[in-house]
C-alpha cells in the first residue's frame, strides 16, 4: 500500500464516520474519552486516590499515550495540518495530552489534565452516525431560529439582575451578606433563576419584599424562553411531518399525507414517494 493510500484511508477512518471502521473508531474513541474522564474524576476523590493511586496513574498514562498517538495520527492524516492544529477540536486534543507531560517538569501543571473532559464534546460528532441526525438538526434549527429572541431576552434579564442587585445592595447592605454590588448581582441571578442557595438571603422587610417581587418575576419570565423555543420547535416538527411535495395530476391538490397513495380530493393515483 502506498503512503498516499494509507494517509487517505487513515483520514476516512479518523475524520469521517461513513464507513464501518470510521464509525468503530469514533465510538471506541468516545468510550476511551469517557473512561479517561471517569479516571480523572475518581482520582480527585482523596480516599480513592490513597488506595488506588498507582492504578489511576497507570491508567492515566495509558490514556495519555493513546491520545498522543491519536493526535499524531490526526496531524499526519489531515489534509490541512495547520488548520487542524488551530481548530477548536485540534486545540482540545492537544490540551488533553500536554498536561501529563508538563506535569513531569512543572509541579501543578498535572492538575490541568482535568481539561480532558472537554473532549467529551466529541459526542456531538457521534450524533452524526445514527438516526439522531433528524432530531438533532430539528433542535438545532429551532434553537437557531430562536437566537435573536433569546438575545433580546438575555439582555433584558441581565439588566434586570444588575438593577435589582444594586437595589438590594442599598436596601440590605453589607451586614446582611450583600457586601458588594457584584455579590448582590450574583444573589439576584441565584434568585431570579429560582436556584436559591440560601448562602445570601434578605433579612429586612423591604429586602424580602423586593426579593419576593424578583422571585415572582423570575417565575413568570421563565415562560418567555420556553415560549420561544416551543413555538419554533412546533413549527420545525409540523414542517417535517407535513413535508409531502406531491401534487395531484387531476385536481392539483398539494396537501397530501406522506402515506397517501391516492388523492383524497378526487381519487386520482398519486406518484410514489
Amino acid at each position: 500500500m502506498s503512503t498516499k493510500n494509507l494517509k487517505e484511508k487513515l483520514y476516512i477512518i479518523i475524520f469521517e464516520a461513513d464507513t464501518w471502521w470510521g464509525k468503530f473508531f469514533d465510538v471506541a474513541l468516545l468510550v476511551l474519552i469517557l473512561l479517561s474522564v471517569v479516571t480523572v474524576a475518581l482520582e480527585s476523590v482523596k480516599s480513592l486516590n490513597a488506595e488506588y493511586g498507582l492504578l489511576f496513574d497507570t491508567l492515566e498514562w495509558a490514556f495519555t499515550a493513546l491520545f498522543t498517538i491519536e493526535y499524531i495520527l490526526r496531524l499526519y492524516a489531515s489534509t490541512n495540518r495547520v488548520r487542524y492544529a488551530f481548530s477548536f477540536f485540534g486545540i482540545i486534543d492537544l490540551i488533553s495530552t500536554l498536561p501529563a507531560y508538563l506535569g513531569l517538569i512543572l509541579t501543578g501543571a498535572h492538575s490541568l489534565i482535568v481539561l480532558r473532559s472537554f473532549r467529551l464534546l466529541r459526542v456531538f460528532r457521534i450524533f452524526k452516525l445514527a438516526r439522531f441526525i433528524g432530531e438533532a438538526s430539528q433542535l438545532q434549527r429551532a434553537l437557531k431560529a430562536s437566537r435573536p429572541k433569546i438575545i433580546v431576552f438575555v439582555t433584558a434579564v441581565s439588566i434586570i439582575v444588575m438593577i435589582m442587585g444594586t437595589l438590594m445592595y442599598i436596601i440590605e447592605g453589607g451586614k446582611n451578606g450583600f457586601t458588594s454590588i457584584p455579590r448582590s448581582v450574583y444573589w439576584a441571578i441565584v434568585t431570579l433563576t429560582t436556584v436559591g442557595y440560601g448562602d445570601i438571603a434578605p433579612v429586612t422587610v423591604l429586602g424580602q419584599t423586593v426579593a419576593a417581587f424578583i422571585m415572582i418575576l423570575g417565575y413568570a419570565i421563565i415562560a418567555v424562553p420556553t415560549g420561544i423555543v416551543t413555538a419554533e420547535l412546533g413549527m420545525a416538527v409540523a414542517k417535517e411531518r407535513s413535508s409531502d411535495t406531491r401534487v395531484c395530476a387531476n385536481c392539483n391538490l398539494a396537501d397530501h399525507d406522506a402515506d397517501a397513495s391516492y388523492c383524497k380530493n378526487c381519487g386520482e393515483e398519486l406518484p410514489q414517494n
Copy 2:
C-alpha cells in the same frame, strides 16, 4: 366446578380487568398496597413506632399474609408460570413478601420490606380501567415521539455538568466544599436544575461568575425539554380532536382527513361527512 374452570376464572379476575370482579380485585389490591406502604412509612417514624409498634407489626404480618396468598394464586393461575415469576411485576411481587419472612432468620433483612413501595407501580394498570386510557396514551405517544430529542438533550446536559463540575473543581478547590470532581459535578447538577440546596456554594468571585453562567444556562435550556414535549403533545391533541371516524369500504383504512372525499390508500370514494 372443574379445576380448569377455576384456574381460568382466577386468571380473568387476577390478571385482567374487563369483568366487574377483575376491576374490583385490581382496585382492592391497590388500596391494600397503599395501606401497607403507609404502614411501613409510619413504622419508620421512631416516636410512632415506640407507641404503636405492636399494631404496625400486626398489620405488616396481615399484609404479608395477604400478599403471599396473592402471589401463590397468581403463580397458580398464570398460563406460563416461569414467565410470570421472572417478569418485572412477578419479581416485585415476590420481593414485597420475602423480607418479612427473611427477617425471622436474618437480622436486618426485615428493613428491605420498604421495597414494597415498588408495588405502587401497579397503579398504572388501574389506568387501563377508566376513561384515562385516552389521556395516558396521548401522553405516552407524545413522550415516545419526544424520546430521541430527549436523549440528545440529556446527553448535552450530562456533558455540560461534567465540564462545568470539573471547571469549578479547579476554580474553587477543596477548601470551599468542592472536594472532588464527582462532588463538583453533583453541585453542577444541583445548580443547573435550579434545585440549589446550598450545601455546597461557590465562594470566590470567579466561581460565582461561572455559577451565575450555569444558572442562566439552566434557566434557559429548561425551555428545550418543555418545547419538545409541548410540540409533540400539541400534535397528539390536535390529531385526536380532528379524528375522522369514517372507514374505507374497500380497504378498511380509518385514518382519513376531515376534508377527504376519496380514500388516500385505495382511491375508493368515502361516505360524505
Copy 3:
C-alpha cells in the same frame, strides 16, 4: 318601599354584579377584605403590635362589625337561607366574623381570625365584572381539558417521590437527616420540584447520585404539565380567534377571518358579523 322590594333590591346588590350598585358593593367589599387581611397580617408582627396594638384592635373590631352586618344582610336577602349558610362562601363568611366574638370568651380562639384571609377568594367573583371573563374562562377551559392528563401526571409523580423517598431512607439513613420514610418523601418532593431548601441534603456518594438522578428527572418532567396546559391553551386561543361561522353564499367557503367583508375565494359579499 315594601319589604319584598327591599329584599329583592338587596339581593341584586349583594349577590349579583350586573348593576352599578352591585359592582360597587363587590369592589368595596373586596377592598375591605384586603384591608382587614393586611391589618391581621401587620398585627402578627410583634414590633408593630407593641406600638400600634390599640389601632389594630380598633380596626379589627370595625371590620368584624362590618362583616357581621354584611353576613346578616346576606342571610336576610338570600332566597334560600339554609343553602347560603352551608355554601362554601357562607361558611367562610361566618368563620371570618366568629373568632373575634369567641375571643371574648375563649383564650386563643382569637388567633383564628387569620382565617379571614380565605375571604380573599371572593376576588374570583370580581373577575365576572370586567373584560377578564373571556380570558379567565379560556384559562379555565384549558385547565379543565387538561385535568385528566394532570391527574395521570400527579399520580405518576406521587409514586416516584414515594419510591425515591423510601430508597433514600435506606441509602442515607437517620444520621444524615433522612430520619423516617415520610421525612424522606418530603425531601424527595423538595428535590423533584426543584425547590431545594437544603435543610436535608444527601451526604453519601450513592445518595448524591440518586439525588442527581431525581433532579434531572424533575427538571425534565416539568415539561409534561407545561406541555399539557400549553397544548390545550393553544387550542382555546386558536379556537376563539378562528370562530367565524359565516359561509360564502357563492362558493360555500367557510374559513373566513372575523374582519372579512368579502369572500377571499370568490369575492362574494359576506353577511355582516
Copy 4:
C-alpha cells in the same frame, strides 16, 4: 452653521438613531453607561476600593462630567424641554449625575450614584437599531396579548400565597421561624416559585405536608404562564411566517391570507401569488 441648524442636527444625533452619527452616539453612550456601572460595582468591593480608590474616583468624575454634558445637550436640543425633563428617561438621566455633586455637600448622598444602573434601560433603545426590531416586537406583541391572562394568573397566585402563608403561620408558629404573617407569606412565595432558600423551612409534620402541597402546586402551575406566552408567541410567529405581502389595489389592505384570491375587505381581485 446657524443655531437652529445646530440644534436640529444635535436632536437627530442625540434623540434619533436613523443616521450613522445617531447610531454611533447611541452605541457609544451605552458603552459609557456600561463602563460607569461596572466602575460603581467594582468600587463597592472593599478590597478593590482600598487599592484602586483613586482610579475609581477619577473615572467616576469623568463619567459624571460626560453624563452632565450629555444631559445639558439633551435639554438644549429637545423640542419640548419640560416634557423631556419630566419624562422617565429625563429623570433617570438627571438622577445619574446629581448624587456625585450632592456627595460634595451631603455625606451619604454619594452612595445614590448606584442609581446610575437604571440608565442601562437605554439598551432597549439600541434594539431599535438592528434586525432585532422584528423579534423584539414579536415578543412584545405576544406579552401584550398575554397580559389579561397573566393578571388573572398573578392575582390567583397572590391569593394562594396569602392563604398558604397565613396557614403556615398558624401551623408552625414563631419558634420555627414563621414569626409573623408577612414573613410566612414571604416563605410561601419562596416555596411556590421553587426558589427555596432554606432560611425558613417547616419543621412539624403537618407543616411539611402543607409545604409539600405548595411545592407540587408551584411545580404544576408554572405551566400556566408558560402555556399563555407560548400560545400567544406561537400565533405571532405563525402569523409572521405566513404573511402575504400582497396589497389590495382598491383599498390598500395588506393583511391577506396566502390562499386568498379576492380582497376580504372590498372584494377586489388580488394578484396571483
